[in-house]
Amino acid sequence: MDPSKSRDSAESTRVIQFPNDVLERILSLIDSHRDRSAVSLVSKAWYNAERWTRRHVFIGNCYAVSPQIVARRFPNIRSVTLKGKPRFSDFNLVPPNWGAEVHAWLAVFADQYPLLEELRLKRMTVTDESLKFLARKFQKFRALSLLSCDGFSTNGLEAIATDCRHLTELDIQENGIDDISGNWLSCFPENFTSLEVLNFASLSSDVNFDALERLVSQCKSLKILKVNKNITLEQLQRLLVRAPQLTELGTGSFLQELTAHQYEELERAFIGCKNLHALSGSWEATTLYLPVLYPACTNLTFLNLSYAALPSEELAKLVAHCPHLQRLWVLDTIEDVGLQAVASNCPLLEELRVFPADPYDQDINRGVTESGFLAVSLGCRKLHYVLYFCRQMTNAAVARIVQNCPGFTHFRLCIMKPGQPDYVTNEPMDEGFGAVVKTCTNLRRLGVSGLLTDLTFEYIGRYAKNLETLSVAFAGGSDRGMQCILDGCPKLRKLEIRDSPFGNGALLSGLEKYESMRSLWMSACKVTLNGCKMLARQRPRLNVEVMKDEDMDDGQSYKVYVYRTVAGPRTDAPSFVHTL
């Protein structure tokens, strides 16, 4: 008998007879939802053990599944992450009242998961009523994170602060919130002590500083504090001396006039924060007081200056104090010179995001160019995540950049003028992006821009074998481009396309592909209603949703959103969304 065969059969018997409680103990140590998905596919016993032990569920598309189905499969969930609208809704491409309302989920959770502790929402519609419901119905609720959501106001936050007795995290980021007043902060009970994370940097109304100071003094476990612009330097100093244990800080404005004494006190406060590893703030270009930060920068790994229009000199001085920086978000006011300073001072940099300070003015020539990006690639060899907004780029520069940093996992280049060629050779940017996919074998996310022909997409299809997310705008020449992607990228999960000449032929070439993807978005392309109907007819397990494109004059353009689902067609679709 083949010894390996007998060993295999003995082992497989052993797996089936594994005692359930032991299996569950082991599986409860597994956190990653992808690992857990893999585990659940091994056998029926493992599927059951996994579903009983799962505490956190991640739902990447709220319409791919229903809350009832989730609750039926996972009885013991304590933490939920839910994502709603397609990503292009961040850029106003999805009309308001589209959906992704959290309330239907909360209603089921109140019944099935009364002990729910954490809720993290991205691009969902959340109303004040939902927030009040959440605060009332879940007695053990601890952590709320809202990113890029809409539909609620600061009144809803009042309910959270008032009723969630065990709240440890309140993280409000970049939402379409109706900012009525800062009164919500005063709603925390007098003896409240549990807060560990408080982020209200994106809110503009004034909070009561005394209430904030008291909160910070009492919450000894506070690790993350991000205040809004209205908090002055003097107030910041008072907060810092009460919370020297902070690991992440978002400051308010840096514009206040300080006396020499106040400056010293502030400096001392920052020196006292020995555990700071992340810093952010809305700073003004004219700030004089950045040096107070320097002592706190030694251990910084994340610096978010994307709301601080710093000139290059100020940034250069700042990063000179941040030798351990791993992630940097900046505005392009720092220009190439600023990026050179980053390259010289931050050899451990892994992630760089450069946002445009003046995105709509096409006349100006400021900002960053290919030189800045190149400089960073030379100085920061560990770079693997870049989001770069610029006004000019060349194929040669891109090729050299990825040669210097072949480990890119996320390459998102946005040349801001649509369809702009290599500004030196006047050729399409095909070869540049070709170099990216050929060299960066670990590439998972790609954002392309500039003048691109089908050749770019041929390259992507042929070489980007690990690509999961692709964003396309104003690119390509014919259906063939999109076909290459759909035929070629085996791990593709999210494809979003706008203003590109891909039509029904391209759409239908993905028939075999869409069920293995999370979603496809196409707007201002050449697909017609008939093409979408054909897709819907042939793939009943996909939701094929169309909306009339109001931005187009011809009355025949549609925005198409295709996604796999086990929940059937939406029951809450507004009148302008048609499921075919």
Partner: protein
């Protein structure tokens, strides 16, 4: 003749008189690669944000509405959702731009001094902060302001700089953060004598 039909039709320039949907100067099927980038996206029949704004502005003849939109010159067409920046970031950039723009136009306030024959006018934007402002006032009116303390106001001189705020109240200069002062100050008055000493006295 038959096979050269295309040439004949071209001579007639039928395209110019053809009725079709779409903006003038656009065609429905042309390869993207051999076109200028601007023409290509114009050919998409896309109505830019600014085009629509201009249409609506002429409809209700309300210029004010137009001004509220993008600060970019209206000759440059803006595309919906491009560049891809989240609304929150977009709005916050807009807010900072407006702030810098108002600061560029100047915040002029009248300055009076008790006993002086005429008033002066200064631009608050010019000054970096209180010390800067007070030095300038000292120079302008040839006097010395005392030392500021939160408890006692300006000690050591018979002058006290005050200002009228948005509510119509007379406040001592220096109590609030500089930015707040800049936006709330309507006029300045340098008080003198017993009236000046009265301010800042604890009862």
């Amino acid at each position: 003749m038959g096979s050269g039909g295309g040439g004949y039709e071209k001579d007639l320039n039928l395209e110019a008189t053809e009725l079709r949907l779409g903006l003038p100067g656009t065609t429905s099927s042309t390869a993207a690669t051999d076109q200028e980038p601007e023409a290509r996206h114009a050919r998409n029949n896309k109505r830019s944000l600014v085009d629509r704004c201009e249409e609506e502005a002429s409809k209700d003849a309300s210029r004010a509405l137009q001004k509220d939109h993008d600060s970019a010159p209206s000759s440059k067409a803006q595309i919906v959702g491009w560049p891809p920046i989240r609304s929150y970031r977009k709005n916050s950039l807009q807010a900072t731009k407006t702030e810098t723009e108002t600061s560029l136009t100047g915040i002029y306030v009248k300055v009076s001094m008790d006993g002086a024959p005429y008033l002066r006018k200064i631009d608050l934007n010019v000054y970096k902060g209180y010390s800067d402002l007070l030095k300038a006032l000292e120079n302008m009116f040839k006097f010395t302001i005392g030392d500021y303390s939160e408890r006692e106001g300006y000690k050591g001189s018979e002058f006290a700089p005050t200002y009228e705020d948005k509510d119509g109240d007379w406040m001592l200069v220096g109590d609030v953060p500089w930015e707040m002062f800049m936006t709330s100050c309507k006029r300045l008055r340098i008080m003198r004598g017993s009236e000046a000493r009265g301010l800042g006295c604890a009862v």
